[in-house]
């Protein structure tokens, strides 16, 4: 009898251990609060989207757009009619097939929210579905951004939702969270600030190609993924990983890497070699940065190395990059960057003297609670002071920065002059995805630069279908952007994952995705 009991207990223990092997425990880089990846551009909503939705196209680790839900497509000779056929067997989590109608409703909603989607929609005359598995996009005139837009890997990603969900007005959040992606969201287990749970979609039909970026086979080898949303203390995260209580840390603090390198059973995985780009953004509406010459002096002063050294610190994780686009991607170029990349403090001081700067204080917004960027404002303040600026460094929490940067009031009335931030590579690698290059005045991104030439060039870029010509236009945009000083690129860095040694298969590419991951 005693032996039987022991055997049953042993079996139970084995079952529990085995079940744990199939649960991937992830500590995401932030909290998941909004579940609608079209309504917001927050990265956590985007990552949630990748878990449960699929996309028509994806972008691989070499920045090539490849089909995902789309099986094949044709383009008319005048490039105004695009016909797409969906892969057979695509199904939403509720068992209903994915149809062209779902796709069109999803694209229409995305086209109202996303900047690139909005641009694409300016070319779209109409869309229809001649057959359930086919959809067509009729354009008013040819454009060069169709596949780039549909395969866009970062916020807002054109995820495909069921028609009834996608018909939710674009200014309202969706209430139902089902897609046709590799995981199913467990709404009943979602506890905001605590955990989000996804289970394997048994009906998902992955592509045959090897996974790369957001393309290829999204094979799922674990039964369940749990996002630990409560574990946000940097040291507690390291402790939990070292003890094997979690499997993956998405973005460890830079200060933690030395400890993580020494921890037993932990390895660092740089799954996103393109990484991030730091950026200093000027407010073009108010003095002193309503003067292009003053902005140029600031860009000349803001050399990238000091920012990278102070903020990242780990030499192998950062590099200076003269481009406003991500270095190593098709549009990455040094053209026009001499004002920053070949400058020095003396030149910055001369430029500032010549600009007629009158000593107006520069208000820099400094977030104190966002480890990934919190040291950048101190460096900016120091460099600008050295150049001759009067600086007012104002400390606040990140969400206050987010709120204040949206205010167009003068700095003395709660506005600002400079804030600093970081972007994921795909967000800045093209003239259309890079929000800081928009120069449509008060309609553009915070900072509100106004420049007809840039806007004209961006429009040309969107229309151009020849890759070589697009690259030339992208270069012209960057040259002009440095001339008018839209912003200062502050270098690039990577932020490798820290994972347990038994975790393999993380897919290389931008974004945080959890297909292909094995827990051995």
């Amino acid at each position: 009898m005693r032996r039987r009991i022991l055997a049953v207990l042993a079996l139970m223990c084995f079952s529990i251990v085995h079940a744990q092997d199939k649960v991937l425990r992830v500590v995401p880089h932030s909290n998941l609060s909004i579940l609608d990846p079209i309504w917001t551009t927050q990265f956590m909503a985007r990552n949630h989207g990748y878990m449960i939705y699929d996309t028509l196209f994806g972008t691989d680790e070499k920045n090539q757009v490849k089909p995902q839900m789309v099986d094949n497509w044709t383009v008319s000779p005048d490039k105004r009619l695009w016909t797409f056929t969906l892969r057979p067997g695509l199904e939403f989590h509720d068992g209903k097939p994915v149809t062209g109608e779902d796709v069109i409703a999803s694209l229409e909603r995305w086209g109202k929210r996303d900047a690139m989607g909005q641009k694409l929609m300016t070319f779209v005359e109409r869309m229809d579905t001649p057959q359930p598995n086919t959809f067509r996009i009729f354009l008013r005139e040819a454009c060069g951004i169709m596949l780039e837009a549909l395969g866009k890997p970062s916020s807002n990603v054109p995820f495909i939702m069921p028609k009834r969900v996608a018909e939710t007005p674009a200014d309202k959040q969706i209430e139902e969270h089902i897609g046709s992606g590799p995981y199913i969201f467990k709404r009943d287990e979602f506890k905001p600030g605590d955990k989000a749970v996804y289970v394997r979609n048994p009906k998902y039909m992955p592509r045959k190609e090897a996974p790369s970026g957001t393309t290829g086979g999204k094979n799922v080898y674990v039964e369940r993924v749990e996002w630990n949303l409560a574990l946000r203390d940097a040291q507690a995260q390291v402790n939990a990983l070292a003890k094997g209580e979690v499997d993956i840390l998405e973005r460890p603090a830079f200060e933690s890497y030395e400890q993580l390198k020494k921890a037993d059973g932990v390895v660092l995985v740089n799954k996103d070699p393109l990484g991030f780009q730091y950026m200093g953004r000027f407010n073009h509406l108010h003095p002193p940065f309503n003067n292009a010459k003053v902005r140029q002096a600031a860009i000349a002063a803001m050399q990238q190395e000091p920012f990278l050294r102070a903020q990242v610190g780990v030499k192998e994780f950062y590099k200076a990059c003269p481009s406003m686009y991500t270095c190593g991607t098709p549009y990455g170029t040094a053209k026009g960057s001499d004002i920053q990349s070949k400058s020095n403090m003396r030149k910055a001081q001369e430029l500032l003297k010549a600009s007629g700067y009158d000593g107006t204080p520069v208000v820099i917004l400094k977030p104190t609670d966002l480890a990934a960027i919190q040291k950048l404002p101190d460096v900016a303040a120091q460099l600008l002071r050295q150049a001759g600026f009067k600086v007012d460094l104002q400390a606040m929490d990140w969400n206050t920065v987010v709120s204040r940067r949206a205010k167009k009031d003068p700095p003395a009335q709660g506005g600002w002059n400079i804030f600093l931030t970081a972007w994921l590579a795909p967000d800045v690698w093209s003239p259309l995805t890079n929000a800081a290059l928009g120069a449509a005045g008060e309609k553009s991104w915070f900072g509100w630069p106004s420049d007809e030439q840039i806007e004209k060039l961006r429009d040309q870029f969107a229309r151009e279908t020849d890759d070589a010509k697009r690259k030339a236009i992208a270069e012209q945009i960057q040259v002009r952007a440095f001339e008018i000083g839209t912003h200062a690129p502050l270098g690039e860095y990577v932020n490798p994952y820290a994972v347990r040694k038994n975790i393999t298969g993380l897919v290389t590419g931008s974004g945080d995705t959890y297909w292909n991951v094995r827990k051995n």
Binding site: G193, A240, D369
Partner: protein
Amino acid sequence: MLRLTPGDPAAILAGDAANADQIAAIRASLGLDRSLPVQFTIWLGNVLQGELGQSYFYKMQVTQLIGQRLEPTFALAGLTILIAILVSIPLGVIAAWRFGGWFDRALMGFSVLGFSIPVFVLAYILIWLVSLQLGWFPVQGYRRLADGFFPFLHHLILPAITLSVIYIALIARVTRASVLEALGEDYIRTARAKGLPELRVLVRHALANAAVPIATVIGIGIAILIGGVVVTESVYAIPGLGRLTVDAVLARDFPTIQGVILFFSFIYVLVNLIIDLSYVFLDPRIRY
């Protein structure tokens, strides 16, 4: 007060790449474009109907959010106070009994240390020692009671010990002072003269008469614990009310902030009422 500080939930909700028009649209959809008195009147009207409103961020009822966080917070507060009472009261009584001796001095030293050491420092020391070196407890996380009593206790005990140190220090000090005062009373001399055992004198006569201030301190401790354990909750990744409050404040989630503050106020009043009522049982001379 929070409405006077800079911070716009619409800008936070919109994300990094949003433009001014999108933020304005979100602000309007949340009703934040209305005047403050109008917003407050609407909220108050809803509260009177039992509605605390909906979180801007989670699109969930605030009552539901609070409900999800109750168990971890009550469990942590309950176990902390239980440990604190079980440890501190005997220590305080012994210290009073051995007033001026080594035990008394050691306890007072511990008490000063307990007050002085920041909770997060103690937490990291305990995690390093008990979890990482000895491997006795997990370093983080919370298991609900429904997942089993052992996992629940296993995850909760280290945070509770961490948090209880300051309360042990506080309650032991108050217990010592109260019992010391009682030990100087005539009825104690009488009890000893009657030949009662010393334990009985200490517990039935000294401690019983010193109970009112001790109960008051415990009550205040419980009330503070319900909303004030955010550091412990952060270090141990416990999804409690403290974290909810701090997250809501940082995100300017006004309905959630207003809801939890109302809830804390209710708990504070309730605990004080219970403590006041308990005086009747602890000291029969008290009448209301």
